[in-house]
């Protein structure tokens, strides 16, 4: 793994982005290293796109600094674009273009491109030679977009929701390609709100909401950090939590419909007591997690906390959370 002394591929320091008086990003700082997949996670409107577009040089920070490969994305845009690959969430290719034409065209922009035919094979579009962008499915368009992001042999790849709306086979293929990029030393910055994707793919997760970092670490660290003394289980919604609480001797809450949290260490006897109570009530148990949480739990808890913040929270936060 890349040591912490080495220069990060992406460095965001105290970034703020305002649109008029609307605050999109509010003092964001994080780093992404080469040879790692960093997932920028957050709900819609969290500030992910504003942040990434600033890194790509599309917009200037209102305050704070961003550096990509040590370059200022706006002032040194020309040097930067030769070394980054961008995958937009949608569009980006003229509708009448065929995959091979688009790849050959993009290859012409770079000094040392990957062979377009090789890339077409890699993303499984070699047999789509005659279809135009307009006639391709969403998944095919996503795979071509990914190939276009890679053709210039980037050192940093910005991938916006790369597997959104894609069938499982296409998703697997894209994930393989992304993992391969990481193995070749590319810094991959993935924006997503797909938690499963981040959990499976990312080496490093940055959770943001309302333009600030809520958590930053490896998926394992984040899940460990949030692991309190609690047992979570899924069962039909609307259970009598006080009855269960009395039975097991710990507070039980319904965190979300059908998702229960028992405030107790996950001892075997506690797990046995919960399942025995369910058995008596003849209730099905959907799943039971003792200790280790899924990233989704962390994410939902953190973003929910941010939304029910104290009254001292910034005006922007309150404004956004009312939406």
């Amino acid at each position: 793994m890349v040591s912490s002394e080495s220069q990060p591929a992406i460095e965001v320091s105290d970034l703020a982005i305002y649109y008029g008086d609307r605050v999109a990003v509010n003092g964001l700082s994080f780093r992404a290293m080469s040879g790692q997949i960093t997932a920028l996670l957050g709900p819609n409107g969290a500030g992910k796109t504003s942040t990434v577009e600033t890194l790509e040089g599309y917009r200037r920070p209102t305050s704070g600094t961003v550096r990509v490969l040590g370059l200022d994305p706006v002032a040194e845009h020309r040097q930067l674009v030769a070394r980054i690959g961008v995958m937009l969430q949608s569009g980006g290719v003229a509708t009448g273009m065929r995959p091979a034409e688009a790849l050959h065209l993009f290859a012409s922009y770079y000094d040392n491109p990957i062979d377009p035919d090789e890339l077409l094979d890699l993303v499984g579009l070699a047999d789509h030679r005659s279809s135009t962008w307009r006639s391709m499915s969403g998944g095919e368009q996503q795979r071509l977009s990914l190939a276009l992001a890679l053709v210039g042999r980037p050192d940093v790849a910005f991938l916006d929701e790369p597997t959104a709306g894609i069938d499982p086979a296409g998703r697997q293929l894209i994930r393989r390609v992304i993992a391969d990029l990481r193995d070749r030393g590319v810094a991959v910055l993935l924006t997503t709100h797909d938690l499963e994707e981040a959990e499976k793919l990312a080496d490093h997760v940055v959770i943001i909401d309302h333009g600030v970092v809520l958590a930053d670490g490896t998926p394992a660290e984040l899940m460990r950090a949030s692991q309190g003394d609690e047992v979570r289980f899924g069962a039909p919604s609307g259970l009598d939590v006080s009855s269960l609480g009395a039975r097991v001797g710990a507070a039980v809450t319904e965190a979300s419909p059908g998702e229960y949290v028992v405030a107790s260490a996950a001892t075997p006897s506690m797990v046995a007591a919960i399942t025995a109570w369910l058995a008596e009530m003849d209730l099905p148990l959907a799943d039971l997690r003792a200790g280790r949480q899924r990233l989704e739990d962390v994410f939902l808890r953190l973003t929910a906390d941010a939304n029910t913040d104290t009254p001292e929270s910034t005006p922007s936060r309150r404004r956004k959370s009312r939406r």
Binding site: Y58, V86, G92, A94, T95, E101, F106, Y109, L148, G152
Partner: protein, 242 residues
């Protein structure tokens, strides 16, 4: 250079593959030329022997407008809509080469359009007069004027609005521009408006270059030059890439 050539080739290929663009760039001008040369429905200025002698310069002006304004605006407007321009912004192509590629595409299409119109006009018995070489700078000025208007629309309006407005403007500039209907047939206030429009200025200039006995076009050259400078400047100033 490699990127510029590839971009120009790609722009050209997409234009030639696009049925709507071929229709507006080539089919409509040729159809109007042949139809109104053969069918005696439209008035022609007094002193003109053959209809095609009046129509050919006007149809060349129309072809310039179709290509540099309508097709360019619609094509670029949808590229902006589908984030093609945004995506190019994060490649090493750069805006300068993108604009040069668009200019290159318009130029090649103009040569093709004008060649077809000239061939058709000769087949219809066209007898050009005046100073045909002066038509070249006129066409170039016209292309810059219309191209500026086209990119101004494409860079500031939504794709679908650009589509509608470009088509509406096309019809208006065609009817008021003296391209197929002589200014002498219009009420004088309409003729006055028509002559300060880019279409009116270009068709007057082309008439003077390509038809003997056509009125001089000194002021039309000035009007055309003003459009050719101001419209691209406005496009540069107001164009938004996303």
């Amino acid at each position: 250079m490699k990127a510029l050539l590839a971009q120009t080739r790609s722009e050209l290929m997409l234009s030639l593959r696009n049925g709507e663009q071929l229709l507006v760039n080539i089919a409509i001008p040729l159809l109007l030329l042949v139809f109104f040369s053969a069918v005696k429905v439209l008035p022609i200025p007094t002193g003109v022997d053959k209809r095609v002698d009046f129509l050919a310069p006007g149809i060349i002006a129309l072809a310039v407008m179709s290509n540099a304004m309508v097709a360019l605006a619609i094509g670029t407007g949808f590229e902006r809509h589908y984030k093609v321009l945004k995506r190019l912004g994060s490649t090493p192509l750069g805006r300068g080469r993108w604009v040069l590629a668009k200019i290159g595409m318009v130029k090649v299409l103009l040569v093709l359009q004008i060649a077809l119109i000239v061939i058709a006009a000769f087949l219809l018995g066209w007898n050009p007069g005046g100073n045909p070489w002066l038509a070249i700078p006129a066409v170039v000025l016209g292309a810059f004027a219309f191209g500026g208007i086209g990119l101004l629309m494409a860079g500031t309006l939504r794709g679908t609005v650009t589509l509608a407005l470009a088509n509406g403007l096309y019809l208006l500039l065609l009817l008021l521009g003296g391209m197929i209907i002589p200014f002498s047939e219009m009420p004088s206030f309409l003729g006055t408006i028509g002559k300060v429009l880019p279409s009116g200025a270009l068709s007057q200039v082309l008439q003077s270059c390509l038809r003997s006995g056509a009125p001089g076009a000194g002021s039309a050259w000035i009007v055309l030059a003003i459009w050719a400078v101001c419209a691209p400047l406005a496009a540069v100033k107001f164009f938004r890439w996303e």
